[in-house]
Amino acid sequence: MFIINCPYCGERDQSEFSCGGEAHIERPKQPTELSDDQWAEYLFMRKNIKGIQFERWNHAHGCRKWFNVVRDTSNDKIHAVYKMGERPPLK
């Protein structure tokens, strides 16, 4: 069980959070303009990185806020957290 430092509430047990997968996959502003391939890229294709991954977590059982986490998926170490809309660190 990780400890996640919610940018709003502070350090909490992982069980209070839910993970929303890879971050910075922006929903296309004009989906209808996209080809099936481009839409599939948005919908399904993932980097699924082994190493430093930028991902979304939600403090589901706390403040209910979504935020971003920088985590190394090869050892589960969390390197940073930042709010939605903030510039990702370490990038």
């Binding site: 047990d13 989906p31 209808t32 996209l34 589901a60 050892n75 809309g85």
Partner: protein, 1003 residues
Amino acid sequence: MSKSLRINKNNFIDQTIRVSFKFNGQKLFGFKGDTLASALLANDIHLVGRSFKYHRPRGIMTCGSEEPNAIIQIGNDPSSTEPNVRATEIELYEGLESFSQNCWPSVNFDIGGINNFLSPLLPAGFYYKTFMWPASFWEKYEFFIRHSAGLGKSPTKPDTDLYDHQYAHCDVLVIGGGISGILSAKLAAEKGLNTILIDDKNCLGGSTIYQEDDCFKINNEYSNKWLKKEIDNLKNYPNLLIKKRTSVAAFHGYNYLLAKENLTDHLGINERKNKIRQRLWKIRAKKVVIATGSIERPLIFNNNDRPGILLNSSIKKYIDFFGVKSGNEISLFTNNDSTYETAISLNKSGVKVNTIIDIRENSNSTLVKKVQKIGINILWSHTIVNTNGYKRIKSINVQKLSADGENVVGKKIKINCDCLGMSGGWTPMVHLFTQSGGKLKFKDENYIFIPDINKSPSDQISVGSCNGIFELDDLITNTIKNIKIFLDLDKTIYDNLNVICSKETEKRNIWLLPSDKPLSKTKPFLDFQNDSTAKDVKLALREGFKSIEHVKRYTTTGMGTDQGKLSNMHALGIIADTTGTNMGDLGTTTFRPPFTPLTFGSIVGRNVGEFFDHIRKTAIHDWHVENNAKFENVGQWKRAWYFPKNNETMFQAVQRESKAARDNAGILDASTLGKIDIQGTDASEFLNRVYTNAWSKLAIGKCRYGLMLNEDGMVYDDGVTTRLGENHYIMTTTTGGAANVLSKLEDYLQTEWPELDVYLTTVTDQYSTISICGPRSKNIVKKIIPDLDLSDANFPHMSFKNSKIDNVNCRVMRISFTGEHSYEINIQSNYAKDVWIKCMDAGKEFNITPYGTETMHLLRAEKGFIITGQDTDGTLTPSDLQMDWIIGKKKYDFIGKRSLYRSDTIRDDRKQLVGLLTEDPLEVLEEGAQLVEDINKKPIEMLGHVTSSYFSPNLKKSIALAVVRGGKKMKGKKLIVPMENKNINVTITDTVFYDKENKRLNA
């Protein structure tokens, strides 16, 4: 009868309290403070079990959690018996009943012992090479294999004991109450840190607490005396929590540790009532000190597994701690100095040590000199080449080692003994460190793996012998030095300790000791429980299994209940020697949690039985119970399913309820539907984006049905949303979807559309929903809310009114899931039960009938309304549901829109929702049944399946909904539902079976 091996002197068990217990039916006595193992040894019982594969007689070998042999069944009550308990760990209690395992008919005479003679046919991996003929016979062979495998027996009745959990958050967690742990805990507590000290025994102090010898002194006191004072002093720290009989099972990432506290296993059966048996501590520590010590290694030589062969340090603990001599004529076999402590202890207690066989050429330590002075015979450079005695060791054969240690030379000497001690050195207990993700490094001079502090994954430190430091002076100095750095201490109370101890100068290690016979004719056991030998490891290597994990799996070395605590190092050593590899390069196998086996009960804690999962209840639940409702589980909710009267079957009750709802009035508790309060200036725009249809033009006071999709275009949830004000809506979701819908909507709002001024607040529990339907529903609502104008002009279908019942605010919606004239009253939950009762009273004269979810499902099916999750399965688009009308084609975008126009989602031969009528109107289809057109086609082509099916009392015939490939265009087509025993003819129809013109909505 066996004689007593108890001596009268010792400080740690209470010889005034006699405890009676049974072993294999025989009544025996021990003392309070004994373990089962020490009590058995005191009764001169060594033979306690049989090994896994060869069923060889095995005795108690150790005194701790590494015990491979003395694995016992405790108790014979079918609900409380416990298999595979280590006799070395369980404390003796009055009335304890214990049984040997894996033997039949008895441990003394075990039929399975024949396997020992068949052993040449049973090398490592033999089962992969045989039992293949005839092909169909594997399950027959397997039957016998299964019955001869296994160890103890599972309980056969539910456990009546209680288990518990406790979270703890501390600054420092110290694991292990030996001398290093005590020093660490005291320094942490002294600094004022919130500290927890955990030890698996009921007595702190590790092995130092019974180390009373002038070779070992701290500040001029015996090491045990000094340590005792330090331990007594710990109680002065209110910030130090000491947990005894507690063992750390797992060390997870982020310093999250699990520790199991035993609370009643040491008590007499009658003292256990209404107490927690085990408590699992879930500990978050800022810093962790691992002080788990080390365990002694066996030596690997021919027939090293006989009852009566123990580890030397265990012999010492039995004599010094429990006052039990393990035999009357003891030989000790060793490669290191620590054995000489055992010899001194035995001698001091008047037990004869006839010989010490030491594979080293000599040693000059103070310990060895002291033993020499006592006059015990030491055979330097010798090894044991064989042991004799089937159920108890009787003698050993000893020969001199060649200079290179690979052979034996000279004359074979026979030495009689009834107990043999052995010691192959010490293995640091690095399990928890590696569990936490730490990496090890090999320390050549001691042949050990120790924590690589540069590869420590969290804020933790290993101190003492688990860090590869074995001698008392180094151990104390190092522990204090490291803890000072770890806890950032300046000066400590231990800065000037004066420690004296014997120093070991000579070392010699031979992983596999030679015998006078060729290896193939010997049985040098590595893994005692699983019966794997050095030969098996070498065979695996010959066959090309070169990775340590391959060898382990092929030979099963280290896969027993002791998880290889005694065998892993030797297996590695033999692999390294055989393949000419450096042990450090070979690496170790992975140590997986738990460190010692953990009961399922303790892992689960109190969440068993009635607390297995939460029960959510509506505010009207009690009324349903009082009125004989049967309940359906919908997610965690209990929903009234139907209300049988006078022994009605479910079918009868549902038929009656369904008819009543259409003929007169029905009342349903719909409180479980999710309700989300939506406010904000962009609320309408938000709804436009999340639903497929358009919302901006919905007038205030009106309701609209909406379909919500996933981004993949598939139907996800549905419900009615009502516009309460200009910027205020209340959305309803399905019961099961409520939490997920809210979280999904929040996600879009916070991450994709932060520019929208919208707030979502769940009010599912705030409002209870009472739905009243049927031609007489209006009369009832009129009585309940007399002030409300119910005329169609004022209050038409799909609209809402704010109102009051007495002085309580309520929202009334005129919406219908049954097709009948219908109202939904939403009222604050604490008043809901009373409103429900008032509705029942008011409805009496109109034959109001309470109905449950089953009738609701039937009524909506008559109208062809879908239930998401039943008629949909995550693979259907709105168009597939024949709901093209709900897709706002003019809308620029909504969740899932783009996916509706992919090449495979626009095809018109997708599965589509249709109605079905059976040829025989009385035949009710089975939900889930498949549909085919041509029953004779091979392979058979399934066109779809039945999603909902009922006998409609209002239409007096069977109706069903189904999804069928290309179904939209198949109206009137005949299909077949092939059942196991018959084929049912059906015709595809429209999905609406009842009141196609929707006249009844305004009836």
